[in-house]
């Protein structure tokens, strides 16, 4: 009874097309039209500028805690760019740039981070799930959406986003396993930004790559330079095409870096060195893509100013939103309000009618945070 090798040795591909100096591997260059390249670039710049603007809004107390995307523009936009309007996108909580690309109005995203329930509502024709905060729990939803699309015979691909930390969660493994067994059109996009708050990747997994986790679930796993938007696009397009053709799910690991804080409540200087951050800043996805576009003569003049104007207009619309009406908390608990909730709603209405409490308006400083003394009424 000899020992035999059951599983063949596996390979995980790594793809890079545009290196950090903007040098191109022309043989791998994806066939994107000039207008598409400019569109993609615009979305990346918008993502970066919005991120910076949101940080200022947060520091001023005009929105609450949020998760900045700086450094991950190529990962999320290169992937989301391959989706059609009729496809579904399932985000986690660090996909602001991809959400804007998918059609979420910027002011709605700001409302979400200002604590407004309205910020989680996709448009009626939008095939996007709202932000999911508990890590990896959105991944089974993507599998269910894809199963349902397949069941109905619809030409639909579902793309789900998550981070490196999420690959340690049970829901990631359950979703990947179900996707493999059910052979559904899902593309799992892991934005491996090296840090799950303060825990580095080497403490998160003993795997050499995250991509190889796909192999145990019977689907391809591929690693890509997540700061190279052309490579992410190319890999994602292959995965989306495969899903659309009925050839099942794919796991993509985008190797990228969170240049900023985990959330605005985080201080990364406690757990990582400035040298490490500086090294990744040299691999900035925006710099190299701009260099590539410049060589092609496609870099638009005045792009940043135009993008800033779009953001400013959205911020103005966000700030023009009236105070949050507390009574609407009862609008979407059930299709029909049970008698007890009706009574609770009436009690709150009565209390509001008597003049308490003061409503919160966007653009105003948030109420006191934990540890701050609250003034007596």
């Amino acid at each position: 009874m000899p020992r035999t090798v059951l599983e063949p040795r596996f390979q995980v591909e790594y793809l890079s097309i545009l290196d950090s100096d903007g040098r191109l591997d022309a043989a791998l260059e994806p066939a994107l039209a000039p207008a598409q390249l400019q569109e993609l670039h615009r979305a990346m710049v918008l993502g970066r500028r919005l991120d910076e603007r949101m940080l200022r809004l947060q520091r001023q107390g005009r929105i609450g805690t949020f998760a900045p995307i700086k450094g991950q523009e190529a990962s999320q936009l290169g992937a989301a760019f391959t989706l059609r309007r009729t496809d579904w996108m399932v985000p986690s909580f660090r996909e602001t740039a991809a959400m804007v690309w998918r059609g979420w109005p910027i002011e709605r995203i700001l409302l979400f981070f200002a604590g407004y329930l309205e910020g989680g509502q996709p448009a009626p024709d939008q095939r996007d799930l709202p932000v999911t905060i508990p890590v990896a729990t959105q991944l089974p939803h993507a599998v269910g959406l894809a199963y349902a699309a397949q069941y109905r015979g619809d030409d639909v691909v579902v793309m789900a986003f998550f981070g490196d930390g999420a690959t340690s969660e049970g829901d990631f493994h359950e979703a990947a396993n179900f996707a493999g067994v059910w052979h559904v059109p899902v593309v799992f996009v892991c934005q491996n930004n090296q840090w799950a708050i303060s825990v580095p990747l080497k403490k998160q997994t003993h795997s050499r790559t995250l991509a190889q986790k796909a192999l145990a679930y019977g689907m391809p796993g591929v690693q890509v330079d997540g700061n190279d938007v052309l490579a992410v696009y190319a890999v994602a397009q292959e995965a989306v095409d495969r899903a659309r053709a009925g050839d099942g799910p794919t796991l993509i690991e985008c190797v990228t870096y969170r240049l900023g804080v985990h959330t605005t409540a985080d201080d990364p200087t406690k757990y990582r060195s400035p040298e490490e951050v500086a090294a990744w800043e040299k691999k900035d996805p925006l710099t190299r893509f701009a260099a590539y576009l410049k060589k092609k003569g496609l870099l638009e003049d005045g792009l940043e100013a135009a993008v800033d104007a779009e953001i400013a207009a959205a911020v103005a619309r966000f700030e023009a939103v009236g105070p949050a009406d507390p009574l609407t908390i009862f609008d979407h608990v059930y299709a029909e309000l049970p008698p007890d909730l009706k009574a609770q709603r009436e009690a709150l209405a009565e209390r509001l009618h008597q003049g308490a409490p003061e409503p919160h308006t966007p653009g105003q400083p948030s109420p006191p945070m934990r540890g701050q003394r609250q003034p007596r009424r």
């Binding site: 329930l117 939803h141 959406l145 359950e174 979407h332």
Partner: protein
Amino acid sequence: MVKALNLALHQEMERDPDVLVVGEDVGVDGGVFRVTEDLHRTFGSKRVIDSPLAEAAIVGASVGMALYGLKPVCEIQFSGFAFQCFHQIENHCARYRARSQGRFHLPMVIRMPFGGGVRALEHHTESEEQFYAHIPGLKMVVPSGARNARALLAAAIRDPDPVVFFEHKALYHAAKEEVPDEPETLPLGRAQVVRAGRDLTLVAWGAMTRVAREAADVLAAEDRVECEVIDLLTIAPLDRETLVASVARTGRAVVVHEAPKSFGPGAEIVATLVDGAFVSLEAPVARVTGYDVAFAGFAREKAVIPDVARVVAACRETLAF
């Protein structure tokens, strides 16, 4: 009750091609309790899905299907295993309507066998309805017999909101009851007065409804006391109106449930009666429940699950107050 539940599933699947069944062993095997028997043969493996063994993805994938517009009926093999998907139920099933401000709603049912008295091991005998009843956005339904099980399951499948549907294992093969061939439903959120009486109100659900009715029979025969018995059927949203109306007449109440006492559904019912029928109450509202222990093991469970004698004793104390 198994056949009645099976009938509801057959008829709802025939009625609506969006209804799917998903869970462990629900397909070829027909479910470990045979509730999904023959569905696989009739509707095929695309609609009756033998899933891998993973509760979070069973519920999570069902959430995705419901987001797409399907109406999944998923089965968790025993309610004691539902903690492996509790996060999906609390974080997502209950919240998607609110989170998306009505853009999405989840027309899905999560079926789970629960309850003791069937000589089963740990995690196969517990009653956990209070966890689900506490979560806004969910409905929590517990039938007590074949006919209402069928009608409530059909109603739960047609309901636009997520329903946690508890099936008591001791009732699966309990006393036979006629179930009409024609589809019928019962409104969710509505309790039933299953025995009228003027002296005391007994509140129960699931397998405890039978215990409460038998206790009422004993009290009628031995004490000449007429108990009203309310079968709750839906734990949440709670039918406070029926409870309060009954106790406003009887002035006395005893709540019976298998779940542990502290912070159990009985506490909410007592609070409801204190809120709504305070001036009518002639005695403190008693609770006959499981004890506050994690589990007892089936060699000792007869001492833990409320029985007719304990309910009768509690009623006599309440009447004598």
